[in-house]
């Protein structure tokens, strides 16, 4: 991946992220967050995580942001008009963020693992075709021999083979979440109990 493209995407992600934190109008914040998530999805694609990148766009930039915008417009939330912000939370927020970012940068620069890049750890697709073990399905080995990364197929195999139980637990969580939302948003009949 060209370094310029990486810096452009990182700038998109972080710049729109900054706009989310500083924006006064909630609609601006939500749209900036959608743009930030799109940049992040492009970063996922640059990491050869195609499936995750697409899911990021579909779920975050699509579903979640539409839900946010829907709620903002449903509740008709206006921009914080003229209310002066108290200084303490703002200063402490900036301070904590700067400290955390500095800490992460220090840790990253002091470990050797951080210098791994696409040149010294290349994907060995045709080699991997022979070492798949249980995942050696015809469709996956065929893709690998042709030199394409069957990303979604491999994630699907991992999910259903190694994390089948976890997948069912997550399904249950989504069901509980759906029921919970319906219960929470139901208007109580006959006023307060």
């Amino acid at each position: 991946m060209p370094p310029l493209l990486f810096y452009l995407l990182a700038l998109t992600t972080l710049g729109f992220g900054l706009l989310v934190v500083t924006g006064r109008n909630p609609v601006t914040c939500a749209l900036s967050l959608a743009a930030s998530f799109t940049g992040l999805a492009a970063l996922f694609l640059s990491l050869d995580a195609y499936f995750i990148g697409i899911i990021q766009i579909l779920v975050y930039a699509g579903a979640v942001m539409v839900l946010f915008l829907f709620i903002i417009m449903l509740l008709d939330i206006k921009a914080e008009e003229g209310k002066q912000r108290s200084l303490v939370p703002v200063v402490s927020g900036i301070l904590v963020a700067v400290l955390l970012a500095a800490q992460v940068s220090a840790v990253v620069s002091s470990t050797g693992i951080a210098s791994k890049n696409a040149q010294n750890t290349p994907l060995a697709l045709s080699d991997a075709a022979g070492k798949l073990g249980k995942a050696a399905l015809p469709t996956i080995t065929k893709d690998l021999k042709e030199g394409t990364l069957p990303d979604a197929k491999l994630i699907g195999f991992t999910l259903f083979d190694r994390y089948g139980f976890h997948l069912q637990v997550v399904g249950l969580l989504l069901l509980v979440g759906t029921v919970g939302v319906v219960v929470l948003s139901k208007r109580e009949k006959g006023g307060a109990p």
Binding site: G17, C29, L33, A49, I72, I77, L173
Partner: protein, 105 residues
């Protein structure tokens, strides 16, 4: 050449931005958006580690499965959280974090 460190620094900065928003903002909806940003930042770090920890020449798909689960849980969390915010707005007519003082000692 872009290395794992670059991705980790971007991830850390995005997380720090989200944290600053959670601490500094008063609007509950925007606090919530910043929470989502922090979750995504963690996902970026996971995807980076997945790419550069090769298992038999392929990315480590255990990490990408974890990202998948995180995204699913985040989606469920957003739905429930926004329903709570709507319920809160109904009772208080505001989404300012300062008006919720019921648990204040």
């Amino acid at each position: 050449m872009i290395s794992l460190g670059h991705y980790l620094v971007v991830s850390g900065m995005l997380f720090a931005l989200g944290l600053a928003g959670v601490i500094a903002r008063r609007n509950i909806l925007i606090v919530y958006m910043c929470l989502e940003m922090m979750l995504s930042a963690a996902n970026l770090a996971l995807a980076g580690f997945s790419r550069f920890h090769l298992v038999n020449g392929l990315p480590d798909y255990a990490a990408q499965s974890l990202v998948f689960f995180t995204i699913t849980v985040a989606a469920a969390e957003v739905a429930v959280g926004l329903a709570i915010i709507v319920a809160l707005f109904r009772s208080k007519q505001s989404v300012d974090a300062g008006v919720v003082t019921k648990l204040q000692g």
